[in-house]
């Protein structure tokens, strides 16, 4: 994109010529209503209500509490993002509320506000000024501007520190004193009365931004303001004062840039893209106040005008002052209005307030209180006659009537095709429309609708991504789970094969023991599977989808396997235990001999068979055995377990199996006992020391323990679903110990064992 060069623009400006922007209108400015009287300071309002968000961007985090005493200028909210600026207490007093309050928005909706009850003392807090700002770094000055809560005061409310901290080179720094909208005179009065402070602010901006040229632009209907600035800046040749031809909306950022430099800001671009930065005179004044006096932005000039107030004038109002209070100060005459109606902003771009308690905010430049005959109601809209007066008036060279058709027909995509978002909502088209169509109203509506649709689209996109991510995760977990199940199954099969092989090769009368060993191997495999399953408490579907099948699996297998083998197994276990005891005592003697013996002459096939079941059983069994043996001898044969000697292979392998079986049985009994103690019913240490003494006793205790554990597990389960079942269960639990129904008890015990295991598993997972 080509635009006029810097030198050419300077030449043109020096020659006293200007460019122009297309369109524009010349409404009656009505500025004389309020620009003749000096700026007044209103009395302190009863309550001050400060919205946390008074600018474009996100709101800061409130850093005071209800009941706090705040000093004037004390910070009330902290910037949480680079685009937010803090707000400050406009006067000293007590924070009486931090709650939603109606704010300056056409919707009349509420936003979070801090309400302060002034104490009337107006005590300043600590102020830190930077009189010698040239000695400070630019970053610290920009930070001070941010901390003073300064955002653009011309209307848009863009945070000033963002604008001032750009890294792109700036050719023109433009001070916008145009104030083109009718009725508004706040900048006019500010320039007339505070020209020197504005110049100081300009000095600071000059130091910060170091532009090639500085232009102070004032519309030619404000000669006094221009003169005041002339006097203030007479010693600085760099500060070029330009009187701009009066035409609405010359004060628009893009329009003023076009008038002064003939450069067009690209769509979706910023003025900096054409080497221009623009600040409002009010912003400039606030910067000077913040840097040189340390005062944050707590007040601004507000024009209160219109024929329905008897004394229209400008007020230096504290931010947060209710509109009602200012109207009272300006002597609002309700009889001149049909219905109370206050417009915030000017007649072209302002909006009607929903409530008179709405506070003045950083962007409030005018309160217009028109009399009944002053403004039309705008409800006499007629059909468009295609006169194209709107297109002639449009400063952005759009086609307002096309936009109107599409906006009215809700064809938003077509409206966007006609560059709806390049509309600056100046209202010139509406002003010239002979059919009195509120064109801008339609554009605003269409814009907000499109923005909402975009938001929804973004949200839908996000939801889609989350949904897909979740699905991918679930899929992955399912695969992992299947993989684990498969591995567990393989392990189970391998264990079973290993046992079968041993039984055939050993070819002894150890059939029952084999079954025990096989059952143990199965139990172990199950346990391994359980151990491997992911945390139950994880907050996703793994928990539900994963554990229940497992639990079912183990329960089914437990009940189908155990009853068949149960009787034999128990007998076997009893024998095994007896043997184990014998073995344990023997082992104590043996260890001295077996331990140092390396597996020198072991036959390889025997070894292979043994290894199958041994490897798995070894680790678990070893620990249990170590404990069992601790009583007999304080030695450890666990780490390097000797391979059975070939000469006594069958004997030893039998012995070993018995020992393993016994150890596991002990471990189980112990576990059951642990449950018991946890249940605080049975503190008796059942198996560890006593199972060797009497098998029956141990068995019984184990069963009792298991039954209690089962009852407990069931109770836990039922507590959620149906609490009344637990009584029944508790009645059943003692039944299980009844020697009469031993068979059923055993089955129950087997199931209970599985369940207890699971419960233990879950408990450990949760802890």
């Amino acid at each position: 994109m080509t635009f006029p060069s810097f030198e050419k623009i300077i030449d043109t400006l020096d020659a006293g010529k200007q460019f122009s922007f297309p369109g524009g209108v010349h409404p009656d400015d009505k500025k004389s209503l309020s620009n003749v009287s000096p700026i007044k300071t209103p009395s302190l309002p009863q309550l001050i209500t400060l919205p946390l968000r008074q600018h474009v961007g996100s709101e800061g985090a409130c850093c005071v509490n209800v009941g706090d005493y705040v000093y004037k200028g004390q910070v009330l909210s902290q910037a949480t993002t680079p685009y937010s600026v803090p707000i400050h207490a406009p006067t000293s007093g007590e924070v009486v509320a931090i709650a939603p309050h109606v704010v300056a928005h056409p919707s009349g909706l509420t936003e979070m506000c801090v309400t302060i009850k002034p104490d009337g003392k107006d005590t300043w807090g600590v102020l830190t000024s930077m009189q010698d700002y040239t000695a400070h770094s630019k970053d610290s000055i920009i930070d001070a501007i941010c901390q003073a809560g300064i955002s653009g005061m011309g209307g848009a409310g863009f945070p000033t520190h963002i604008k001032a901290s750009g890294s792109k080179p700036v050719e023109f720094l433009i001070l916008n004193g145009i104030e083109c909208e009718p009725y508004i005179t706040s900048d006019d009065r500010l320039m007339r009365e505070f020209a020197w402070q504005i110049r100081q602010g300009l000095d600071i901006l000059d130091f910060l931004i170091a532009p090639k040229a500085i232009i102070i632009a004032v519309e030619d209907n404000k000669p006094e303001a221009l003169k005041a600035l002339d006097i203030a800046c007479q010693d600085k040749e760099k500060y070029r004062r330009v009187s701009v031809e009066t035409k609405y909306p010359a004060g628009g950022e893009k329009q003023l840039i076009q008038v002064l430099t003939n450069r067009e800001v690209p769509r979706n671009g910023l003025p900096i893209d054409v080497g221009v930065l623009m600040f409002n005179v009010g912003t400039c004044y606030a910067i000077a106040d913040a840097i040189l006096n340390g005062k944050p932005l707590i007040e601004r000039i507000v024009t209160v005008t219109g024929e329905a107030v008897d004394e229209p004038c400008n007020f230096k109002a504290l931010l947060g002052t209710p509109v009602r209070h200012l109207l009272k100060e300006a002597k609002y005459n309700a009889s001149k209005q049909d219905a109370p109606k206050v417009i915030m902003g000017g007649p072209m771009m302002g909006f009607t307030l929903a409530d008179a308690s709405i506070p003045v905010v950083k962007t409030t430049n005018c309160l217009l209180v028109p009399s009944a005959s002053e403004l039309t109601d705008g409800d006499n809209e007629r059909a468009c006659i295609r006169c194209s007066a709107c297109a002639d008036a449009c400063p952005a060279s759009l086609l307002p009537q096309q936009l109107f058709w599409h906006a009215k027909a809700n064809e938003y995509d077509k409206a966007e095709d006609y560059n709806l978002f390049d509309c600056i909502e100046c209202g010139a088209c509406t002003y010239v429309c002979p059919s009195e169509i509120p064109l801008v109203h339609y554009y605003r509506q269409a814009k907000s609708e499109i923005r909402l649709q975009r938001d929804e689209k973004n949200k839908a996109e996000k939801a889609k991504q989350r949904f897909e991510a979740r699905n991918a995760r679930l899929e992955q977990e399912k695969r992992d789970r299947e993989e684990k199940h498969r591995k567990a199954k393989e392990a189970r099969l391998a264990a079973a094969n290993g046992v079968n092989n041993t039984s055939t090769t050993a070819s002894t009368d150890s059939g029952t023991k084999d079954k025990v060993a096989a059952a143990l191997a199965r139990a172990k495999a199950k346990k391994a599977a359980l151990n491997a399953t992911p945390d139950v408490s994880r907050s996703d579907t793994t928990g539900a989808a994963n554990v229940p099948p497992d639990a079912k699996d183990s329960a089914i297998q437990g009940s189908s396997d155990t009853p068949a083998n149960d009787k034999k197994a128990q007998v076997a276990a009893a024998i095994a235990r007896a043997k184990a005891k014998k073995a344990a005592s023997a082992d104590a003697n043996q260890t001295a001999t077996t331990q140092p013996l390396p597996a020198t002459s072991s036959s390889t096939d025997e070894r292979r068979d043994d290894i199958e079941d041994e490897k798995k059983a070894k680790v678990a069994a070893a620990i249990a055995r170590a404990k069992a043996k601790k009583a007999a001898a304080a030695n450890d044969d666990t780490p390097q377990k000797p391979q059975p000697d070939a000469s006594e292979s069958s004997e030893v392998s039998e012995d070993k199996k018995a020992r393993i079986a016994a150890a596991v049985a002990k471990a189980k009994a112990k576990k059951a006992a642990q449950h018991n103690t946890a249940d605080e019913n049975n503190a008796k240490d059942s198996s560890e020391s006593q199972n060797t003494a009497s098998d029956k006793d141990a068995q019984k205790q184990a069963r009792i323990a298991a039954a209690v554990a089962k009852a407990k597990a069931k109770k836990q389960q039922r507590d959620v679903a149906a609490p009344q079942d637990s009584e029944e269960l508790q009645r059943q639990a003692p039944d299980n110990t009844n020697p009469q129904d031993e068979k059923t008890a055993r089955i129950a015990a087997a199931v209970a064992k599985a369940k207890a295991k699971k419960a233990l598993q879950q408990k450990s997972d949760q802890s």
């Binding site: 919707s107 109203h441 949760q766």
Partner: protein, 189 residues
């Protein structure tokens, strides 16, 4: 002799074209049916399953395969209209069997009643519920699509669907609520 020339020439040409086509099929491979993507973009992505499919994408696939376009209550009339435009069919009224169009809602967990069962977490299609077993759960309002799927699994019925509160950023001009005259643009000149 001349026959063999022709055969060789045609064969060589066939080989060259075959190579070009083979390369093109890899180089310009279309990942999936673009129509499904387009339909999926139109759907509101609430993943609510009210259409009878487990999520918006499966429904998009079903529409691409000829299913009805009026089974999406969260999308409502505007979605049906867009789908009709996309598919080149006549718009139909929303199929009442799948639910009614409603205002946008988000789930809200009454936190003191939550027992921490994680059932709602498992039901949420977009992982918008935060919590752990036996700990209170809460809804990430920004992520919630208002699909209703968490309401039924809750054993203590502590989940409400509350209409989304309108804020100044979600507000839109509504001529039926805000009369046009409320924007004072027109001046008497």
């Amino acid at each position: 002799m001349s026959i063999s020339f022709a055969v060789i020439a045609i064969g060589v040409l066939a080989l060259i074209f075959g190579l070009i086509l083979g390369y093109a099929s890899i180089r310009f491979k279309v990942e999936s049916d673009p129509l499904v993507e387009q339909i999926d973009d139109v759907l509101p992505q609430t993943q609510c399953g009210q259409c009878g499919y487990p999520g918006c994408r499966p429904y998009a696939e079903a529409i691409a395969n000829g299913d009805e376009i009026n089974k999406c209550p969260p999308g409502g009339e505007s979605t049906i209209k867009k789908l009709a435009d996309l598919m080149g069919v006549e718009p139909k009224p929303l199929d009442g069997a799948h639910g009614e169009e409603d205002v946008k809602k988000v789930a809200y967990i009454r936190e003191d009643e939550c027992i921490g069962c994680t059932k709602c977490i498992q039901a949420c299609p977009v992982d918008a519920i935060l919590g752990a077993a036996k700990h209170m759960h809460t809804v990430l309002t920004d992520e919630c699509t208002g699909c209703d799927l968490c309401v039924d699994p809750c054993p203590v019925d502590c989940i409400d669907m509350v209409p989304l509160v309108q804020t100044t950023s979600t507000w839109k001009w509504d001529f039926s609520v805000t009369p046009k005259g409320d924007i004072p643009i027109k001046m008497v000149s």
